[in-house]
Amino acid sequence: MAGWPEGGTNGLRAFLHGLPGVDEVGAQGRAAALGTRSIKTSAKVWAVDMSISMVDLTTLEGMDTVGKVRALCAKALRPDPMDRTCPSVAAVCVYGDLAGVARECVGDAVHVAAVSTAFPSGRASLEVKLLDTAEAVSAGADEIDMVIDRGAFLSGDYTKVFEEIQAVKAACGDAHLKVILETGELQTLDHVRRASWLAMIAGADFIKTSTGKVTTNATPPVTLVMLEAVRDFYEVSGRRIGVKAAGGIRTAKDAVKYLVLVKETAGEEWLTPDLFRFGASTLLNDLLMQRQRLLTGHYSGPNYVTLD
């Protein structure tokens, strides 16, 4: 394997701080420039369907109920009940206690992702986090969305973050592990790059921007830096890590811009639900309305998509 440390504070610190810096102005400029790509006609049709198949359809509310999750699952399986050609989404994403309900509804037609490790703050002991994870997996989750300990990361205790990710990964068994960096709290793009690498070398299958529970969620510059990280990690390790942009992506137009970022940063290989996801709830309906318009030539409206 490549020359990154297997743990140990000094080694991790030296490695993460030895990564090239990110110039914020430059990264923002690049993300904005890619945002001006003009995606029309056949390219748009393709991008809208691909975006639908990349959605982790999410409900993460204190008021979630069995009924709400069942409705979400029905929507995940058949996003557009009037059109059988519409692809299903990638996964439903729920709290761990509802993972069993979700699995029951969707069977193995879509993935079930459970947020875990004292989501969204991550403020609990490792034991609690591991139990949280193990329960969700045994209830049927095949994807775990964990949060990193941002306090430990920001205070420079990279070992703690690293070991937690390793331990949660072990608790996941066969389930895929998505590691939420909560970039809105990391704030600088240098932190985003370091946290991305830390998560990848600790065993993440996916790195994910945000919980959706803080003011700033996924942004194009943050996603750009994470896509650069997975691209560079692949070059040295031969392993492709996925990226999930979560929170704040509400329109089909925005989703297509993210696909452009993926294509022109990590490359075409990442344009699959196995390697790129959107964590979203309202996005799906906008994608469906755009899809209806592209297929029929007429503008659709909110009454022609289901509210779940």
Binding site: P20, G21, V22, D23, V25, G26, A27, G29, R30, T36, R37, S38, I39, K40, T41, S42, A43, K44, W46, A47, M50, V225, E228, L259, K263, E264, E268, L271
Partner: protein, 481 residues
């Protein structure tokens, strides 16, 4: 299945190109006295766009006379606040007609629509806005309490940024109270002629702006004309020398903005991904038809291999083709002659032992094209490290220490621009103190703003355009009326 961008062409319907254009003299379009004309061509298709008049000696006389009369009778004595109104009006009309101007520029020049739309036209408008603001405040610009205009300015501009270079020349001249006779490049006259219409639309007094189309001979007649007070030229160093000889011994004021061989210097602690973008923007922006292009990449040896690999991967994503397509990154080379020059110099790179790498992109069948190219293993002695190529060709050299970087960067007859890439602020300042260049960018490249003066050292010329410094090129510090 892959994510292939479908064609997304900007509509040509927004422009209305006449089959023939006259000269713009004294507020009117008139045919050249000789009746001579030249054709302007779309470099992406070789299609003839229009025929434009070629101004001869009689036309230059008429234009200079019209400018002199406008200066004496209207413009020179007009209060600054009133001149400002016209400049603001012109700026707003450029914004209103921006889509049309962008398409016209792309058709005539070959540059991608995303650049004419997002860079050329907005910056041209910004130059008029900025200078409009100065017109009534010239007494506070550091040129005395009541500086005077010079009179009639003869201005000759290049084909790489046709409307933007026009704005760089005309906006400060007018703001300072001068009148102008401007000659656009022979291959890109159309946006200057559209600007003449904008002057009419803005109600600018007749003769304040005169546009003479033509080739090198028209330019020579203009700069040698005894009736002008000031010559401003942007173009090649070779023509700059001829102009300097022609102006020597006269009382004409002169500013020259000439060639360059800019160094883009990347240290091993640079933000690599952004540095790669900066290198791309430095030399492949506008097909490398940029006098301040970062045509020499100086990279610290410790990261040379990884940086070059990243750069090549990035160049593989550049989209070359129809300049009107909104997703095109690299457009056409402006003329067959320019393409020939680029090919000659690239061949000299091969002959002198540098290693050529070409981005994998298919070239269209018609028009003039050159793919993004990188030469590695280049030394200071190679022609491609010394001569301005003015095309999408990057020469890569390496260095070991900051001193060596400065030495190599400065080891050129030119001195227009440089870029420094490092996360270390103190090194940026240390380098900037030692580089002999008029413009130095830190962790960015090819960024322009009307408030920032632009110009060269050494054989890149003298005089500044933009900012407070740029006003000095069009003012006399003697106490005025």
């Amino acid at each position: 299945m892959t994510f292939d961008y479908a064609p997304a062409p900007e509509s040509r319907a927004v422009v209305d190109i006449a089959s023939h254009y006259g000269l713009f003299i004294g507020g009117q379009f008139v045919d050249a006295a000789s009746g001579d004309a030249l054709k302007t061509v779309n470099p992406a298709t070789e299609e003839v766009l229009a025929e434009v008049s070629v101004a001869g000696a009689a036309d230059v006389d008429a234009a200079v006379l019209a400018a002199r009369r406008a200066f004496d009778e209207v413009w020179g004595g007009m209060p600054g606040r009133d001149r400002a109104k016209y400049l603001y009006r012109i700026a707003r009309i450029i914004q209103e007609r921006s889509r049309e101007l962008a398409v016209l520029e792309t058709l005539d020049n070959g540059k991608p629509i995303k650049e004419s739309r997002d860079v050329d036209i907005p910056l041209a408008a910004a130059h008029f806005f900025y200078h409009a603001g100065w017109a009534d405040k010239l007494g506070y610009a550091g040129y005395g309490s009541n500086p005077k205009p010079l009179g009639v300015a003869g201005q000759v501009i290049p084909w790489n940024f046709p409307l933007l270079m026009l704005a760089w020349k005309i906006a400060p001249a007018l703001a300072c109270g001068n009148t102008v006779v401007l000659k656009p490049a022979e291959t890109t006259p159309l946006t200057a002629l559209a600007f003449a219409e904008i002057c009419q639309q803005a109600g600018l007094p007749d003769g304040v702006v005169n546009i003479l189309t033509g080739a090198g001979e028209t330019g020579r007649l203009l700069v040698e004309h005894s009736g002008i007070d000031k010559v401003a030229f942007t173009g090649s160093t070779e023509v700059g020398r001829q102009i300097m000889r022609a102006v020597a011994g006269t009382s004409k004021r002169l500013t020259l903005e000439l060639g360059g061989k800019g160094a883009n210097i990347v240290f091993d602690d640079a933000p690599i991904d952004q540095a790669v973008e900066g290198i791309v923007n430095g030399i492949y922006f506008n097909q490398g038809h940029v006098c301040c292009a970062g045509s020499r990449l100086l990279v610290q040896e410790t990261i040379a291999d990884t940086l070059i690999a990243s750069l090549k991967r990035r160049l593989g994503t550049l989209r070359l083709g129809d300049p009107l397509d909104k997703n095109t990154d690299i457009g056409a080379i402006n003329s067959a002659a320019q393409l020939g020059r680029i090919m000659d110099l690239a061949r000299s790179g091969d002959d002198e032992g540098a290693e050529r790498w070409t981005a994998p992109c298919a070239l269209p069948d018609r028009g003039w094209w050159f793919p993004p190219t990188v030469f590695t293993g280049v030394s200071q002695a190679h022609r491609i490290a010394r001569e301005e190529i003015f095309g999408p060709v990057l020469s890569v050299l390496t260095f070991r220490t900051p001193d060596e970087a400065v030495e190599k960067a400065n080891n050129t007859p030119y001195g227009l621009s440089a870029g420094i890439w490092t996360e270390k602020g103190s090194r940026i300042l240390w380098m900037a103190d030692r580089l002999r260049d008029g413009v130095i960018w830190a962790n960015t490249f090819n960024r322009f703003d009307p408030t920032s003066p632009f110009g060269g050292y050494k054989e890149s010329g003298f005089g500044r355009e933009g900012g407070v410094a740029g006003l000095g090129a069009y003012l006399s510090a003697e106490e005025g009326r």
